[in-house]
């Protein structure tokens, strides 16, 4: 399972919603196979960043590259098909579709019908296949979202606040999943849960009011909880 196709690189990124600029001159590099975390308060622009990388927003200026490939200007489904998958915030799965149908849709889109990878990370989903998305708990929905995104062997995962509102046990589980995914999947994680970030992140970017105010590449500093200082 090769995932070492390249780094995810964001350069000079300026993003605006109409007249209101939200991101200013953002630089970010996620080395292949590593997990970068993006931390910051609500409204800092973190979700905007992920959405731009995924292709849902067009930047006013700047570049987004995966390896040598330029991502700006591509439709979101093209970006997804390139192996860069966006896992939205707010635990959004299709409420009216069963877990099985959710997964089938993802399989249909990627051509990957081998669900073993999903059940390996999230065995709980196996028992929930016939339950409708609207009847899943928050944690189960998050598992389904990430499970869906894993189909098609993605090279990059953009995950937006996965642990928000989840019980500590589930957070622990997700942390483990991220650890296992590292190495063959590049990940950019937006999180407000600093203990989790301290545990799994290789690089941390602090975002404030649309700008990157700090880039911490020292793993020692991250593991020992040095991230707090930057916020």
């Amino acid at each position: 399972m090769t995932g070492h196709d390249g780094a995810l690189v964001v350069e000079d990124l300026h993003v605006a919603y109409g007249e209101a600029q939200v991101l200013f001159d953002v630089h970010l590099t996620v080395p292949a196979g590593s997990l970068a975390a993006c931390v910051g308060r609500n409204g800092a622009g973190k979700t905007t960043l992920l959405r731009t990388i995924a292709g849902f927003l067009r930047p006013r200026a700047g570049r987004v590259r995966y390896g040598e490939v330029d991502l700006v200007g591509r439709r979101p489904y093209e970006v997804a098909r390139m192996g860069i998958r966006y896992v939205q915030q707010d635990k959004r799965v299709f409420a009216d579709l069963t877990v099985r149908e959710n997964l089938r849709l993802a399989s249909y889109a990627t051509g990957d019908w081998d669900w073993d990878v999903v059940f390996r990370y999230f065995p709980r989903l196996k028992g929930l296949l016939d339950r409708k998305g609207g009847y899943l708990s928050g944690g189960e929905r998050q598992m389904l979202m990430i499970g869906r995104a894993l189909l098609g062997r993605p090279k990059v995962l953009l995950v937006d606040e996965p642990t928000e509102g989840l019980a500590p046990a589930v957070v622990e589980q997700l942390g483990q999943v991220f650890e296992e995914l590292k190495g063959h999947t590049t990940m950019l994680l937006v999180e407000q849960n600093l203990p989790l970030v301290s545990r799994v992140a290789d690089v941390v970017y602090a975002v404030k009011e649309g700008r990157v105010v700090a880039e911490i590449t020292d793993r020692e500093a991250i593991r020992s909880g040095g991230v707090e200082a930057y916020l």
Binding site: A54, F56, R75, P76, Y77, A80, R81, R85, Y86, Q88, R92, F94, A95, D96, L97, E101, N102, R104, L105, A106, Y108, A109, T110, R148, G152
Partner: protein, 289 residues
């Protein structure tokens, strides 16, 4: 009122409802999936009728003429989707509505140009009558009802049993999420739009023999179809079916009671329902004003 009138009134209403359903289903699906009000569906309805008429007049065939009408409507809708709607999906709903209205008006103008203003009679495929509860009913009307029921069944099967249907149901909930999985949603849009066009064309072709084919037919049917759509709620297939048959019955039985007011009755019913529930009976509050 005697049984004769009741039975034929109900059947008449059901066949009207069937036509309304075919037309309204297209509108409803386009709204549910793409958040557009595709007023140009009325154009595909008219075109379906006219092409069916033309083929019938030129070749004498009846059922193939209907198919031709539906297909012609499908082709036109495909062209319009690619050239016009494709560019404007992201825009807000009033924008697409105005644009689709432009397409409708332009198309009706073109129809007037080609076929003129005079209404044309269209040959009915089946002349036979069948006895229902001892009353003679035109077989054709029963066939129309059967076709509508079959279409409903087919759409439900598509939505619930195929992967494309799953994609559509998902996209109705959240298009971006579907696209994020890697699905080309634009192909989904095109397919649905053309599907709606074919249904509208079929409605026109089927309706042709029952009324005369005339350039205004697309607009004449407007109050009824809109009532169906509003009462049933945009985006709900079941709601569309129920309200289509409801409106059909009100028109039919209403005209038995007092003819001139037949067209007004559904309108009044709709206003009452809207007073009670501004989004229709089954409609979603997905859109704010």
């Amino acid at each position: 009122m005697d049984l004769n009138l009741w039975v034929s009134g109900v059947v008449y209403g059901l066949s009207m409802g069937s036509i309304f359903f075919l037309l309204a289903a297209g509108l409803s699906l386009c709204f549910g999936l793409m958040r557009i009000i595709s007023l140009d569906q009325l154009l595909y309805y008219s075109l379906g009728a006219y092409v069916a008429y033309q083929v019938n007049v030129s070749t004498g065939l009846t059922w193939p003429a209907m198919v031709a009408g539906a297909l012609a409507a499908g082709v036109l809708s495909w062209v319009v989707e690619r050239w016009v709607f494709y560019r404007i999906y992201a825009r807000e709903i009033t924008f697409t509505m105005i644009t689709s209205f432009g397409v409708l008006v332009a198309g009706v103008g073109a129809i007037k140009y080609v076929w003129g203003l005079v209404p044309r009679p269209m040959g009915i495929p089946v002349e036979a009558q069948v006895a229902v509860l001892g009353v003679n009913i035109p077989l054709y009307r029963l066939i129309v009802i059967a076709i509508a029921a079959a279409v409903y069944g087919a759409i439900q099967w598509l939505l619930n049993r195929t992967i494309v249907g799953t994609a559509i149901r998902a996209a109705v909930e959240d298009v971006d999420q579907v696209e994020g999985l890697g699905v080309d949603v634009y192909r989904l849009f095109t397919g649905t739009f053309v599907g709606a066009g074919v249904l509208s064309g079929l409605a026109g072709a089927l309706h042709g023999p029952l009324v005369m084919v005339d350039p205004q037919m697309g607009l004449e049917v407007v109050p009824f179809v809109f009532m169906v759509v509003i009462i049933g709620g945009l985006g709900s297939l079941k709601g569309t079916l129920v309200s289509a048959f409801l409106v059909g019955q009100v028109v039919s039985l209403g005209s038995l009671v007092y003819a001139p007011l037949a067209q007004m009755a559904p309108f009044a019913a709709m206003l009452l329902i809207l007073l009670w529930r501004p989004t229709g009976l089954y409609g979603s509050t997905l859109l704010r004003r």
